[in-house]
């Protein structure tokens, strides 16, 4: 294939990666930023979103577009509720201690993964896309649904941004992020904010999972990759910076795609990984963070 179309394809693929990543990472960034909790189980919420999407679309009769829409609403809500329960039962009782929450969320990761394996099984199951539309370019074909994912992710991020900057709940969240003690002194119920943040973060991961499932199928081990990449995005983007998260997701998505044009796939993966690691080494505060 000629260089131009090749590049175009790499960019399109990179954008789709970036879109899914930005959604998943935005959730992680919120949790990380507001609560200072490293949620190792974040990828499992993404997986649960995908698995629940499979369950919902299978249970509800009707056209694909409708059942998918239902999944898009039901799955994130269920996952958010689950996360809220986990927060109340576990994280809150740990007082959100950074080290303890890492261990606890590793435990949660095992529990959720096992639950998915026992109740859902080891197979990778497809969920039909809400619509079947292929774009045929002169050089190659491309899934229209993938472009829809990019748009949907953008819309969700925009809504999230509006929520954080324009609503009272968002303001309270940001205030708690800046200074937990002061927020408490001003009468903010920090426990409720944390629970809400954890639920929202999980819900965003689940939403990413639902969006991705027509592309990638639901499988109980699928949470692993997005977890690693989300962490990278969050740190490169700078703690708690939504804009940084978005830019970092695009940078990582695109660089992954473009690097893979020039090297054999495994070598490309090695180089992309090292590149991101070196960015972190040379700019420990992230690309957009003011300070670590």
């Amino acid at each position: 294939m000629a260089f131009g179309p090749f590049l175009l394809l790499a960019l399109m693929e990179g954008l789709v990666t970036a879109a899914v990543l930005a959604l998943a990472a935005a959730g992680l960034s919120l949790v990380f930023g507001v609560m200072r909790v490293v949620n190792v189980a974040h990828g499992e919420f993404y997986m649960l979103g995908a698995v629940l999407a499979w369950a919902v679309t299978g249970m509800i009769p009707g056209p694909a577009a409708l059942t998918f829409l239902a999944a898009l609403i039901i799955a994130p809500v269920l996952v958010a509720a689950l996360a809220a329960v986990a927060d109340g039962l576990i994280l809150k009782r740990l007082n959100y201690d950074p080290e303890a929450t890492i261990v606890a969320t590793i435990g949660l990761l095992y529990i959720l993964q096992q639950a998915a394996l026992s109740l859902y099984g080891p197979n990778a199951n497809p969920v039909p896309a809400p619509f079947e539309w292929r774009i045929q370019l002169p050089w190659f074909g491309y899934s229209g649904y993938k472009l829809f994912v990019v748009l949907a992710a953008l819309a969700v991020l925009l809504a999230l941004w509006t929520f954080l900057s324009r609503t009272r709940a968002g303001l309270i969240m940001r205030a708690t992020q800046v200074d937990r003690m002061t927020a408490q002194a001003f009468g903010i119920n920090v426990d409720r904010v944390y629970m809400g943040t954890f639920a929202l973060g999980a819900g965003l991961a689940a939403l990413a999972g639902v969006l991705v499932v027509p592309i990638q199928q639901a499988q109980y081990l699928m949470g692993h990759d997005p977890l690693l990449l989300s962490f990278i995005v969050v740190i490169i983007g700078g703690l708690g910076s939504l804009r940084g998260t978005l830019v970092a997701a695009v940078v990582i998505g695109l660089s992954d795609g473009v690097i893979s044009m020039f090297f054999s796939p495994t070598l490309a993966k090695i180089l992309a990984t090292l590149l991101v690691a070196m960015v972190l080494v040379l700019r420990p505060q992230g690309l957009f963070g003011a300070r670590a």
């Binding site: 990380f32 529990i111 096992q114 690691a277 670590a292």
Partner: protein
Amino acid sequence: MRRNGLRVWALHLALLAVLASAQFWLSPYLATNLARIMVLAVFAMGYNLAFGYTGLLSLGHALLLAAGMYAAGLPALLWGWSAGPAFIAGLAGGGLVAAVLGLLALRTAGVSFMIVTLMFAQAGFLTLLYFAPVTRGNDGFAVAAASRSFLGFDLSTDTPRFLAAFAIFATGLLVSLALMRSPFGRTMIAMRENEERSRMLGYNPFTVKLAALTLSGLYAGAAGAAYALLFGYVGASFATIQYSILPMLYVLMGGAGTTLGPFLGALLMFALVEAATGLTTAHQFIIGAALVALVLFAPKGILGTVRERWAKWLP
């Protein structure tokens, strides 16, 4: 630090005596597993030096384990090295890779350090796959019988294997105990407790942490080499993230920043997995629940809690 010397050494030596005799009263199955646990405990003790004592939360220790494993296994495979030189190579491999990792990753701290170490380990894993013609990639390779002999002892047989694992474990344990009772051990702990204050006492945090991480790498390298030579297999799966989480779990379970915690953690995890696979096919659930329970009810790990409540003298 110098105080309680007698009972601290007595406790450690008593444990070693019990372990040394264990091969006589344990079934062959449990004795073999005890050898495995001791090798993994060496890995965990190394992790404990970095994480438990120095406060370096690494998720890249699988890279160091694999470095030792391949540094020992590849010369055995390619040039037929025997166990002695191969083990030394593994030790050096772990230390060297740790030093390079530290030079880069220690420019970061906290969660960034965790992610950077994770990414270097991931790159290391992919590199093992990429150079499959040499490393045998994901399949790995069996270490030939000729390379599994040390001073005429066949390390693939029960007694020599147990004794070799015990010797490495005992060395690791006593070295880490001596280290923790030395001024340098105190300096490592100072990094964990208050890095800025340490700097204002004249310590260079970077070099202290680099030394701690390199030491940790020597332990991981020794464990990797020992696994290759004692159990006869080298493979890229040991470089995956699971093997970075494993020593963390052992250390947290046994008690971070305690000399005996890593071994206790490795032992209990083994017992837990054995019990869990027998009780239910959903054994991951049991492990997950145990972790959550542990962190809720004994957040400092078992020995950490014991030290806090009953035995302040535990090192």
